[in-house]
Amino acid sequence: MKPELRCDEIRADISAFVDGELRTDRHDEVEDHVASCRSCAAEESSIRSVRKLLRVQAIEDVPDLTHAIMARIPAPKPRAGWTERFRVGAIAAAASALVVFGSTLPFDRDGGDVAAAGEISRLVRDAARSLEAYRARFSIVERGWHPEVPVRRMTARLDFAAPENLRLQLTDRTDYPDAEWPRNDVTLIAASDTWWIREPSSCPEAALPHCASPTTWAGVVETRRVTNREPFDGASPLPTDIIVPLETLAAAEGFEVRERATVAGRAAYRLTLEYRQAVPLVGAIQQGGAWRELHPLDRVDLWIDTETWFPLRFRVVAGDSPDRDWWSTRHGVDDEPGDVLLEVRARGFSEPDGFPPGTFRAPSSGITRDGGFRPAVVSGDLATLDPPGLQLYRSGTAADGSRLVAYASGMSYLKVVRSRGALSPEAAHTGEEISLGSRGVGYYLPATETAGRRLEIRTTRGVLQLHTNLSRATLIDVASQLHLRGRAAPVVVERAGGVSTTRIDPAMAFEQRFAARPTYLPDGYSVVNATVSRAADGVTSVTAYLRRSEGEFDGAGIRLVQAAPVRFLPPSSEEFVEVALGHVRGRWSTERSELEWIDGRFYRAVAVPSADLYTAIRIARGLR
């Protein structure tokens, strides 16, 4: 190589060299050359001095344009931002005033007929209890399922005869790019003791469309069946919230009443709520098949019939939660705030007198699981409970030998299970201790996506579990009438790996010297339980569990962990987002929805599986 050529080549990299922007090997090469070549050394020094001149340029006399800019920023619109939502939620919870917001339609204020959220909750519960039969057709539009199939259209038919006969038929009418794409056709048929579903085989998104293609292999459709199903089995649930949104609207603080409207000629209220609260409703049409992901804080608009309390229409709208973009990236979706992601409309409904024979008869095909329930007459106190408005429905022995009695009316139910075992780990570890007056104590868990509200009572002979979709207050009322005495849960809930975990009084959760107390919590949340863990190395941690009273459908509420002495955040291979919390830095795991930081010698963490970073930061900043 000629020396001049080599010098030209080196000089092209001189700027990057002084900027430290070269790969190490190239950097060393340039450095060595410059050290030994007089003319390249001169070039380097010339570039360095220009660079320095530019970088130390006197700061120009920069004008302050703040006022001019802010004058051009649109005035704040009334929006469902956080503060607004909480304010509205709080008012709705008061349930005494008429609550109307953001009305866009003519609206009569004189009749006083706009029910507050609490009133709607009550009316929905009554409607669920008296509903005997229901038939409806729906149209469904989903956007953003797959980059190559931006819009999917489906129709659904639903037949229901109380309390547990249901047939849901979903027909995919999407115009797919070709026949390779799996169609989202789903059939669910349930009767009191059987449950049957046929759905497309699940397919990782990256493998679409070929993975479940009819032309490549036969396993396109999966069929599963449960026989000897126990009444109101959480593992084979019935999607009844689309009939009357009993769980979705169970808690008055979970939704807002927006306005009166007319949908398909019927009087309706428009309610708004977060997707995490509307999971039972939205999930009702998603019993099988593949669907796009929705963010817990996406907004749901629900138009509900003011007479029958049937949903007439609902839609899920992409929210503007500050960390929704990270979430989108992680879930491979590309939404703009305000995009309508899913829209469901009732195309007609009726309350028929009967159904054709065989409507709820499931085929006998499919992978079968024996639910193990054997009907039997159960005598004694379980059979003589008198839950308000419910009648004895079925009784028998469950797969594990426990005895159960189910009461029902319309869609409402209460199931009592007596077993010889201990409290479930969930109830023992995280359940809220409820006083049953002279009947001792029970341990309460709110409804989840698949199971109802639950109260577990520990007695000398075993455990009594009550499951229901009635309200928490009704559940506690019924439990207080039982002839038994509920004993406290064991204090030590876990001992593993040199760490022992004990239950403490939730009122003492923030009494440890290092534990700060939250001054901000999202609406409806309170501390329901707390545990202390002590490790052999001297680290003590306090975990507080915070939940809403009626349901936590998309996660387990909020968890607050504080520990001392801790110097470093636990190592992890996850990707974190760095977050400034006052003068300290924290890290946010999008995977776990947990914000962790070190505050002096104390470790603190806020986990919000069904909310977002913004919520976690507000809670973290409110710790005192």
Binding site: I47, L53, R55, L65, A68, I69, M70, R79, L581
Partner: protein, 184 residues
């Protein structure tokens, strides 16, 4: 410490994205100087720099909900500022054809003020736009090659060679001026 820009506090950014004006105003206060300096060097005109800075923040406010956080905030901001500046220059050019040529040329005079940095600024203003924007981003705003490449939508290699050509040209121009002063 060579003018490396601090990223905004994520919670401030979150609030601004949620439309909170107070939070947005804090972002304006924190970043307007850098946006203005970039605008000034792209347009070579203080009045235009004011307009571009305002336009930039109005656009930032509108598009903030779409900011994905997959680049640095400053990178995203500078890309918007650059677009605003180029739009403004295109508009000027159009007007330039239609309107009083002399006046516009007067408006577009390089900023030459009797300060210590006058030669540097003159030399900088005389650079072709493509070299100027690269060197301003890297030397005056402290962006890395990678981030500058994102702002300019260019491969990193191109940014590298433009910065070098810009510095080389400036070195020549300033060396010329120095020699001139020495001789005088």
């Amino acid at each position: 410490m060579e003018g490396v820009l601090e990223e905004p506090d994520p919670q401030l950014l979150g609030l601004a994205r949620a439309g909170e004006r107070g939070a947005f105003e804090s972002l304006v206060r924190a970043y307007q100087a850098d946006v203005w300096r970039l605008s000034l060097h792209l347009t070579n005109d203080r009045g235009l720099a004011d307009d571009v800075t305002q336009d930039t923040f109005v656009r930032v406010y509108r598009f903030l909900p779409r900011f994905r956080g997959d680049s640095k905030f400053s990178t995203w901001l500078f890309a918007i500022a650059r677009n605003c500046a180029l739009d403004e220059l295109r508009r000027i050019k159009r007007r330039h054809v239609l309107a009083d040529r002399a006046k516009v040329e007067h408006d577009l005079q390089p900023i030459a003020q009797p300060t210590s940095g006058v030669e540097v600024r003159e030399a900088l203003a005389a650079l072709p736009l493509d070299l100027r924007e690269a060197v301003v981003l890297i030397d005056m705003l402290g962006e890395s090659y990678r981030d500058a490449a994102r702002v300019l939508r260019l491969p990193e290699g191109t940014v590298k060679s433009r910065v070098h050509r810009a510095r080389r040209t400036l070195a020549d121009a300033l060396g010329e001026a120095e020699r001139g002063t020495d001789e005088a």
